[in-house]
């Protein structure tokens, strides 16, 4: 994703807020629309949401910082999520997390140094019958073995 300057971030945020498909528009629905459109919540968006919803910047930051799905830095091209709910934990989620973190050179959630991949934990991806579950760019991969995870990581690195 190309980096946008402050003005275009402002314009895109305003666009996303106005175009949101939610019949009842709130601070949260506006933030979710921006997250969907831009992949993150830049400072400019916070101000735009405050302006549109007639809320204070404080109020908007309060909501944005509460929900863990919001990012405050530009997105990386790839996201890998490992589910750590009890079902997945029992059948090897910790091994998968360790393996992924090792391969990505990370200690916990975050972006790789080269800005290519984001690693996230998810408390439940919702496919517990196929535990352990990982999601690569929001696509679920059930019954994921460590070997399969390595393959997926290689595919991400090769850009496929």
């Amino acid at each position: 994703m190309t980096t946008m300057d402050s003005d275009s971030l402002r314009t895109s945020s305003r666009q996303a807020i106005q175009d949101q498909e939610y019949p009842t528009k709130t601070v949260l629905s506006s933030l979710l629309s921006i997250e969907d459109a831009l992949g993150w919540i830049p400072e400019e968006s916070i101000e735009e949401v405050a302006d549109f919803m007639k809320a204070t910047i404080n109020d908007v930051w309060a909501v944005a910082s509460f929900y863990t799905n919001f990012r405050f830095a530009p997105p990386t091209p790839n996201t890998i999520e490992v589910c750590w709910g009890p079902s997945c934990h029992l059948v090897g989620a910790m091994g998968l997390a360790e393996k992924a973190l090792d391969a990505l050179g990370l200690e916990n959630e975050g972006d790789t140094e080269d800005g290519a991949v984001t690693f996230k934990f998810n408390t439940c991806l919702g496919a517990c019958s196929h535990a352990p579950v990982v999601a690569v760019n929001h696509k679920l991969k059930g019954q994921c073995s460590e070997d399969r995870l390595s393959e997926l990581l290689t595919q991400i690195r090769n850009g496929s």
Binding site: S29, V63, F66, Y67, T68, N69, S87, H89, S129
Partner: protein, 590 residues
């Protein structure tokens, strides 16, 4: 425009007959379980194969039939033939299946999993003779896996909206309420409060705007039945919600789903749109003077948003933190208007209760727990999946007869039921019957219906630590006993699991847990100590092994402890997280 139900029904029946007419109909299980197993690739392969051979066939998606372990599950019905199911289909198997079943007209008995219909398939079992399907009573899941969730006609052709038609045209709201009371239906979200009584509260609140809130936040790891219903049969929820609206005099419905769960969101939005087009929502529903609107509201990632008052805060676009009660939702709910909150599963029963009567529903089930339980099996079990069984059968029957027992070569040790706050049970408690009272007496809850099975490789300290870490991560932070207490509990459990405990650690946890229970606003803090307490009561020997002998009884605790960083402010500002620091003007009031 007013539409009579008979016209809708006639058109729907014709379309259903059409699907069984001249050409093959292929259905692919594409709920979240199918998706995780790779259904998307299978659908592509099927469409490609059918096109390549020039075969006329309809390929549709359906929801979750229940045996998730068999996904991707494909079924084919040819004109005049039986419906034949194929399990664990890969794109590579597709040409073989199409060749045999459609090109040669002979179902592939080697690959087939089951059949349903009058024509038997050699060496293949009838669907409802499969151990996983036998013994199930499917009410809320009656259409799951059978109909295309995107097609309202398929729902209507299978009896859908008949309950709504009956309620609107031949019953008064009081009569519908009485049916629901007679049915003995209780809330399936966890608290098990009688639904009819709850609706009665809303009836008593006078206001031109009243809300029916449908809760599909479903953050419980191990439970996926709410999402499963919305992905398989969203119209059953829409119909149940409209009936709830008619009964209580409400004007609006809101379906509350977590952002990011695309399947349930898209299917519900589509269902609402179709219901409006068919005159089942909006003004003068089915030609009566009843008006009702439904919309979808999304929340961000937050477990506590599933708590009824936090849910209302989230709908209003605020932080999902619980409110003080009273005032209760029936008096002062979302946007300050009277509101009623029901779980998706609860509302999904309503159409059938109205169609077939409360007495019919109350004939199923056990003592004070009427109807069925929708259970999600996961963990160390042979046949994980989503099933619907009558209340009153034992956990053992569910685990062994339906789920096939623990993973081969292993033995049952522990059960985690009803969501992360529900606590754990020992294997000998698997003789408990599935009903609210017996589960409570055993020290667990039926809750959202998740049963996570753990075998002898599992250490109770490890399980308690993971559950506590979940509670800690998801604490909303409003009440400090929960915010600080959950963190304290995780700290102590991590010490114990590394066999570095200090004297008095168990007493310390108990005292923290007692404070949390006494002084937290919602169930999250009140029940936050529950997983640890239940692990201690059933598996004290595991804790003793860690504390006294300095070793893990199963070796499981030797794995590294990795979990999301625990407190949100820390995640928020850490530069290593790739997050920008707070802007300088953050405190400025506009």
């Amino acid at each position: 425009m007013t539409v009579r139900f008979e016209e809708l029904k006639k058109a729907a029946d014709e379309s259903w007959v059409g699907l069984h007419g001249q050409q093959a109909w292929i259905r692919v299980g594409s709920a979240i379980c199918g998706e995780a197993a790779g259904s998307e690739e299978v659908i592509e392969a099927l469409q490609g194969e059918v096109a390549k051979r020039g075969i006329k066939a309809t390929v549709s998606i359906v929801g979750c039939l229940g045996p998730c372990y068999a996904e991707p599950l494909v079924d084919i019905i040819t004109p005049g033939g039986s419906r034949v199911f194929y399990n664990n289909v890969t794109p590579e198997l597709v040409p073989q299946i199409i060749e045999a079943h459609i090109a040669n007209g002979q179902p592939d008995s080697q690959l087939a999993f089951a059949y349903e219909g009058d024509t038997a398939v050699e060496e293949v079992s009838p669907l409802y003779d499969l151990p996983m399907m036998k013994g199930q009573v499917r009410i809320a899941m009656r259409n799951a896996g059978n109909i295309d969730p995107f097609d309202i006609n398929q729902y209507i052709a299978n009896g859908g909206y008949a309950g709504l038609d009956r309620a609107l045209t031949s019953m008064t709201p009081e009569e519908v309420l009485q049916e629901v009371k007679d049915s003995g239906l209780r809330g399936r979200g966890g608290a098990a409060f009688p639904t009819g009584v709850k609706w009665g509260f809303l009836v008593g609140s006078k206001s031109p705007v009243k809300y029916i809130l449908c809760n599909c936040e479903e953050g419980d790891p191990g439970a996926f039945n709410d999402k499963g219903i919305l992905e398989s049969d969203p119209h059953t929820l829409i119909e149940g919600t409209i009936i709830a609206g008619y009964t209580t005099g409400a004007s609006n419905g809101i379906v509350f789903i977590r952002h990011g769960h695309e399947g349930p969101i898209v299917k519900t939005q589509q269902a609402i749109k179709q219901a409006y087009e068919a005159g089942l929502l909006g003004k003068n529903i089915l030609g009566t003077d009843f008006n009702f609107d439904i919309e979808v509201s999304l929340t961000g990632d937050s477990y506590v948003a599933g708590e009824e008052t936090a849910l209302m805060e989230s709908i209003e676009g605020k932080r999902a933190m619980p409110r003080f009660r009273p005032p209760f939702p029936a008096a002062y709910g979302v946007w300050g208007k009277p509101s009623n909150i029901n779980n998706i599963k609860t509302l999904a029963y309503v159409p059938e209760i109205v169609s077939k009567g409360g007495e019919w529903f109350s004939s199923i089930g056990y003592e004070r727990s009427k109807g069925t339980a929708i259970i999600c099996l996961s963990g160390h079990i042979q046949r994980p999946g989503m099933i619907e069984v009558p209340m009153g059968i034992t956990i053992n029957q569910v685990l062994y007869d339906i789920g096939g027992g623990p993973t081969p070569g292993h033995s049952l040790r522990m059960l985690q039921t009803g969501g992360p706050l529900g606590g754990v049970l020992s294997a000998d408690k698997a003789s408990t019957t599935l009903d609210y009272e017996s589960m409570a007496a055993a020290g667990a809850i039926l809750g959202s219906g998740g049963i996570i099975v753990a075998d002898e490789r599992t250490c109770a300290v490890n399980m308690a630590r993971v559950l506590a870490a979940f509670c800690q991560f998801e604490s909303c932070g409003k009440c400090f006993p929960c915010r600080l207490g959950t963190g304290h509990l995780v700290e102590v459990l991590e010490r114990i699991s590394r066999s570095e405990s200090r004297p008095g650690d168990l007493e310390l946890m108990k005292s923290v847990g007692t404070s949390m229970a006494a002084s937290s606003l919602c169930g999250h803090g009140q029940l936050g100590y529950n997983p640890i307490q239940s692990a201690l009561s059933y598996f004290e020997e595991d804790f003793r092994s860690h504390i006294v002998d300095g070793k893990c009884p199963t070796g499981q605790c030797s794995e590294p402890i990795i979990a999301p960083q625990r407190t949100r402010p820390h995640r928020w500002s850490a530069p290593a997280q790739g997050r920008a620091p707070l802007p300088a003007g953050r405190l400025a009031l506009r």
